[in-house]
Symmetry: C2
DNA sequence: CTGGTCACTCGAACAACGATCCGGTGGAGG
DNA sequence: CCTCCACCGGATCGTTGTTCGAGTGACCAG
């Protein structure tokens, strides 16, 4: 009796729950990438049978949706800042979070309706409204900022994180070999110039914000 | 003899080639979406065995890469236009093509190194350079414009094309039900306001181009 | 103590997938 | 006629997401 471990500890950790599944899924995605996430591997890390997961979660896609929303909990919602500083901080943290979990880039093509994402979108809309942005510029601003950060993170994750050095070298060589086909690209392209993703992101973001700000003055 | 059909016609169409495989893949993707593309179904449409495809193509990912690049052939490269008009046209056609093939949104997370994509990127860089855009604004402009169009198409394809009406209604209902949690989103959000994706896209694009243009004057 | 309910677990199995192996086939060239 | 070789495809392997149905143990009414 005293020597018999409880079934709970045999399987490692607290009882299975949706939260534990999602947390472990994020850890697995961070460690091994999107294509290495399978229900069996996830269950193994949780110390359970793979089919057990389906009691807590309907499909694998649900796990991905939940994992994608979960990482946005790390994006703080700004407080007591002027609208432009707040938006800048939100979008910057948004991007940093996406880049910290590069697998998220591959999941951006699915509806993001989790509570964390919605709360941050709500802040974005609310801040723009409070700043005096009105339709049609309001929707354009919210869409533009979201789309810009999504596109930026997607492209950077594709190249700097997901693509191995082998792929990047092959790409460089490929373009160097066809230098006369793509003259401008070879002379000024991203693989030639030492590019600064952070600086480029800030330039683009400020151009967008300048445009939004200009609509406030003129109505 | 005269009644015996040639083996070629029995299997339907001209001999198998990489080009035919890619064309049929695009047609299949257009008709049924990304997750319905399998090597077996693709082979069936081509009237061949599934394993035959692997003689012309190394992996399924190759098919996807080729299909993704193939659709960019429909994006004309502007000629004889002032830089801003040319860039506007290129980016607009870029977006239209992505939206005409909504499955492409899910593939944007992979390196785009096909000849069609590279040629259009080359035009973008070349036009910006000719317009007088210099570093660090050059990279920022090229990245910003690409990322913006990618993000816009990705988000719009996600919501207006890939998500069925059922999903959209559920989303609307979900947000309406939590109206107090997301006040700004409920009042001004994209599912409340009748949003105009095209107009929003143009606003964002012009804000970016205004920013780029301003860097030319000031150096 | 008993019997039963209910949340939860999991081994076995299924259909479908990407990919490989290896034996064909048919036309071109010697 | 034989040989070569680009091209084809049936059989098959390992893996995937998901379902089915049989369990297990805690808890509760009687």
């Amino acid at each position: 009796m005293w020597l018999r471990t409880s079934g709970r500890e045999e399987r490692g950790g607290p009882p299975l729950s949706r939260q534990r599944i999602v947390d472990e899924a994020v850890a697995l995605l961070d460690a091994e990438g999107a294509d290495r996430l399978t229900m069996r591997r996830l269950a193994e890390r949780l110390g359970t049978g793979s089919t057990t997961l389906y009691w807590h979660v309907k499909t694998k896609d649900d796990v991905l949706d939940l994992a994608l929303d979960a990482i946005f909990a790390a994006v703080p919602i700004p407080e007591d800042e002027r609208w432009r500083a707040g938006v800048t901080r939100l979008i910057g943290d948004w991007r940093a979070t996406l880049l910290r979990h590069p697998w998220s880039a591959a999941l951006l093509g699915r509806p993001m309706l989790g509570p964390n994402v919605l709360a941050r979108s709500d802040y974005l809309y609310g801040t723009l409204v409070a700043a005096g942005v009105v339709e049609p510029h309001l929707t354009a601003a919210a869409f533009g900022l979201s789309n810009f950060v999504i596109g930026s993170a997607l492209m950077q994750a594709t190249w700097l994180v997901n693509a191995d050095a082998e792929t990047r070298d092959a790409a460089r060589q490929h373009m160097d070999h066809q230098r006369d086909h793509y003259p401008a690209l070879a002379a000024h392209g991203p693989l030639t110039v030492a590019d600064d993703w952070d600086a480029s992101f800030e330039y683009g973001l400020n151009w967008l914000l300048d445009g939004v700000e200009a609509t406030i003055a003129t109505g």
